[in-house]
């Protein structure tokens, strides 16, 4: 962490996790080489995991925008809550290799965005079906 140029802060949309992330951001801004030498600050990006769009829409979970606002760092991506994450972790294989799963796609999107590619946040809004597009507000 001391020599870092960029930091990808991984958090859940949950009070304790966001609070810990804010502490880490505080350390990044004060106890790192760049901070001590007064160089350009470390690049900070938020990766929000275990995100459930359905619960956000119901008001049961903080939205990605809320977490970004609280931490005041830009969003690199959201990883949807997915069973495939634990399965991949159990098996010791990166979930990003499972390109058929939404979590795998989300991780690959986040990596591409970090490397400078423009990619739509496809897990941040619900993709509407035919009727949703006609009747939705």
């Amino acid at each position: 962490m001391y020599h870092a140029d960029d930091a990808l802060v991984v958090a859940n949309p949950e009070v304790s996790s966001v609070r810990d992330s804010d502490r880490v951001l505080g350390l990044l801004a004060s106890r790192t080489r760049r901070a001590e030498r007064g160089d350009e600050p470390i690049g900070e990006y938020l990766l929000l995991t275990r995100y459930s769009l359905a619960r956000v829409e119901k008001g049961e979970m903080m939205a990605a925008d809320d977490v970004c606002e609280i931490l005041s760092i830009p969003l690199l991506g959201v990883i949807p809550e997915s069973k495939s994450v634990l399965s991949a972790s159990n098996a010791g294989t990166p979930v990003s290799l499972e390109t058929g799963t939404d979590a795998g796609q989300a991780y690959n999107d986040a990596v591409a965005r970090y490397l400078g590619e423009e990619r739509e946040h496809r897990f941040l809004t619900r993709r509407r079906g035919f009727f949703g597009r006609i009747f939705g507000g």
Binding site: E14, V15, V18, R19, D22, R23, G26, S30, V56, K58, G59, E60, M61, M62, A63, D66, I70
Partner: protein
């Protein structure tokens, strides 16, 4: 409005509640993190001086630093006991 709506509304508010709680917690922690390192020893020495004259508890002393524009305010708030018990005469 049905009985179920009451429970639904409670859930609907929980994300907003989480955000409010976080904003309070984080504002508090950031102000503490920004406080200068000399604050705890300063507090301790001030306590020792006060205790020479008045018997006060640790909890009766509140010290905080506020920022207002370009300057900082060191605020020291001491609640004196109702019947002062002077140690020296």
């Amino acid at each position: 409005m049905s009985i179920l709506d009451v429970f639904r509304r409670k859930n609907r508010n929980s994300a907003a509640l989480a955000k409010d709680r976080l904003q309070v917690i984080i504002a508090h922690e950031r102000s503490r993190a920004n406080a200068p390192d000399y604050l705890p020893p300063l507090r301790e020495e001030i306590m020792q001086v006060i205790r020479k004259y008045v018997d006060v508890d640790d909890e009766a002393v509140r010290m905080q630093i506020d920022r207002d524009g370009d300057y900082e305010i060191l605020e020291l708030n001491i609640t004196l006991p109702e019947t002062p018990a002077p140690r020296r005469r």
